[in-house]
């Protein structure tokens, strides 16, 4: 309501304080682990926040040093598995959400209900049977062995986000296209896809975050570097000797896997928030 010019000095001060508080809240723990990742082994035993002298040795350890094997393969697994799971979920969810938002057919409510039930499903409840089944049919410790269960995380939220999003699209456009002689599919592709694309894209980011975040499946359904994703691998880091804590290496690895999150957030902050709040086609 108020414009920047209309702010009084006190309001300006208030907003500065609020902004600093929010920034502190959001970034402080990240800053703490960032600082850790640049500390030397000796420095890590020292209760100061920032390193006394900055070093790259932790990053060297995970990229070219002793933890390379563990970290780089895990990073490759995480990226590959997460991207594939996100892609499959978004494609399936787009088709499904379109049908739900747009069409009238029996079982529609049931599909939405199923999506809801799956999204509240405790992951740990299906881990035990999957663990057993995967071992029997040879999916244990493989990429598909994680991609398939990841769909249980990414599909429901994708369907719900997209269905909500699709309901806000001005569908008169589609009807107009159909009146002009387009088939339903053509109308969908020409009139709706350009409007829906931001929603699909936003959904993909959210699905990516969720799959990227997984720990339960990652630690339960893998046993080697063949498929173990980064969050699970972090729990297996060991220090250079048995008396050394792997704090530095874990911190460095944690920062590396946080970079994609920060990049996505910086680039698509507006889309993510608007996707979750009002949809991109608010009138």
């Amino acid at each position: 309501m108020a414009s920047a010019k209309g702010l009084t000095g006190r309001q300006k001060l208030g907003w500065t304080v609020v902004t600093v508080l929010v920034l502190l809240y959001a970034l402080f723990p990240v800053a703490a682990i960032f600082a850790n990742s640049f500390k030397t082994q000796a420095d890590l035993g020292n209760p100061a926040f920032w390193p006394s002298n900055w070093t790259w040795e932790n990053y060297e350890m995970i990229f070219v040093g002793s933890a390379q094997e563990l970290f780089l393969t895990a990073l490759r697994n995480s990226i590959g598995i997460t991207l594939i799971a996100t892609f499959i979920a978004v494609v399936l969810a787009t088709l499904c959400a379109y049908a739900i938002a747009r069409m009238d057919f029996p079982g529609k409510k049931f599909i939405l209900g199923t999506a809801l039930a799956v999204s509240i499903f405790p992951v740990i409840s299906v881990v035990t049977p999957l663990f057993n089944l995967w071992r029997t049919i040879g999916l244990y410790d493989t990429w598909p062995g994680l991609i398939i269960p990841y769909l249980s995380l990414t599909l429901p939220i994708s369907i719900w986000t997209l269905a909500a999003f699709f309901r806000q699209i001005p569908w008169e456009l589609e009807q107009a296209a159909q009146v002009d002689g387009a088939t339903q599919w053509q109308a969908f592709r020409k009139a709706i896809v350009p409007l829906a694309a931001p929603g699909v894209f936003t959904t993909a980011i959210i699905a990516f975050f969720i799959a990227w975040n997984d720990f339960v499946y990652g630690i339960s359904l893998t046993s080697t570097e063949a498929a173990r994703p980064v969050p699970a691998a972090l729990a297996f880091f060991t220090g250079a000797s048995q008396f050394e804590e792997p704090t530095g290496a874990i911190s460095a690895a944690a920062i590396v896997v946080t970079i994609p999150v920060v990049v996505l957030v910086l680039l698509f902050q507006r889309q993510i928030v608007s996707g979750l709040t009002q949809g991109a086609v608010k009138g």
């Binding site: 999506a115 405790p122 769909l151």
Partner: protein, 340 residues
């Protein structure tokens, strides 16, 4: 159904169009094609969802009725409900259940307050600040829970952490305090990490709710002399009740499954074990598939129960999430009122 049919012609001036549609001879063909296309589009997602959850949970229910250890598969025997009996008569199980419930209640309560504050800040912020605020808020939202767990763990760690040093002036905190050796302190750090990571999610859902409150309503209340507190308590919050309840329920269900933070920080030591961790340790670490499945099923039923209570007692309309237009909420409300 009937209520809707009765209401539509009166409520909508477009009754003429509806009638034409109803009597159109092409309707049944089109409707059939729509059903077919609808299921063709929605079917694959539906099947995949069932395959990755319904089948495994059915298997878990089945496995939970057996004494079944992977290291001794030949000794598998049917024991019916003995696994559950074993759990429910074990005080340790109830302690673990209690800890899980405690984490759920405390984190969701704190997150609701914090999240509402953040939502208001994001909602009210000027354009120039909005981007910065939202970007920073999304960092914890997107960060990996395990990373958050390590960040908080190292902050409070007795050797590498700085918290003991910074807060040594607080009674009870000194360089000798091992946060992860005692239940109270350990659970606090676990909850802090949980709250930090998931408050943005609640804040964003509440922001969505705030955005749906019509500005005219608030403006009218303001003109009528409502104080800022009254604007919130009488106009804004009642109008976003649906968003609040959905945020609350989703987070409560999520918090009840807490695993990552506990696994990383204490591994269940200092009595901080939670249900998900118990299931993991029985199944994956000890290969006790029968008992592990029983814990999994109990966790699942507890979650179902929470949903049931929310829907029955608090009338949470989870479907409101897809019905994002303001009119949708009003319609549901009217329908409910009319029905009872």
């Amino acid at each position: 159904m009937t209520a809707t049919a009765e209401n539509t012609p009166g409520a909508e001036p477009g009754g003429r169009r509806d009638r034409r549609k109803d009597h159109s001879p092409r309707k049944s063909d089109r409707a059939k094609a729509e059903v077919r296309l609808g299921w063709m589009l929605a079917g694959p997602a539906f099947v995949v969802m069932l395959a990755v959850t319904a089948y495994p949970i059915a298997q878990a229910v089945f496995d939970s009725l057996w004494s079944y250890r992977l290291t001794a598969p030949d000794e598998r025997s049917f024991i019916f409900l003995d696994n559950y009996l074993l759990l429910f008569t074990d005080p340790m199980f109830w302690r673990i259940f209690g800890v899980t419930l405690l984490i759920t209640i405390v984190t969701v309560a704190v997150e609701l307050v914090l999240g509402f504050g953040l939502a208001i800040v994001m909602h009210k912020a000027l354009k120039s600040l909005r981007g910065l605020l939202r970007t920073s808020i999304l960092v914890p939202y997107g960060i990996i829970t395990v990373v958050s767990a390590f960040a908080w763990y190292y902050m409070f760690h007795i050797n590498s952490g700085f918290v003991n040093n910074w807060f040594s002036w607080v009674p009870g905190i000194d360089s000798e305090l091992d946060w992860f050796a005692n239940f109270g302190t350990a659970i606090s750090v676990i909850m802090a990490s949980e709250i930090w990571k998931t408050t943005p999610f609640i804040a964003l859902l509440l922001l969505a709710g705030l955005a749906q409150v019509p500005d005219e309503l608030v403006e009218a209340a303001r003109v009528d002399g409502a104080t800022r507190w009254q604007q919130y308590s009488r106009v804004i919050i009642p109008n976003m009740k649906a968003a609040i309840m959905v945020a609350l329920l989703f987070r409560a269900l999520d918090a009840f499954r807490v695993f990552d933070n506990v696994f990383i920080m204490t591994g269940g030591d200092a009595n901080t074990e939670v249900l998900a961790l118990l299931a993991y340790r029985q199944s994956i670490s000890r290969l006790e598939i029968g008992l592990g499945s029983a814990v999994s099923v109990v966790l699942f039923i507890a979650v179902l129960l929470m949903v049931f209570i929310a829907i029955k007692l608090f009338n949470v309309d989870l479907a409101a999430g897809t019905d994002a237009s303001g009119g949708g909420n009003k319609k549901t409300g009217a329908k409910k009122g009319g029905g009872k």
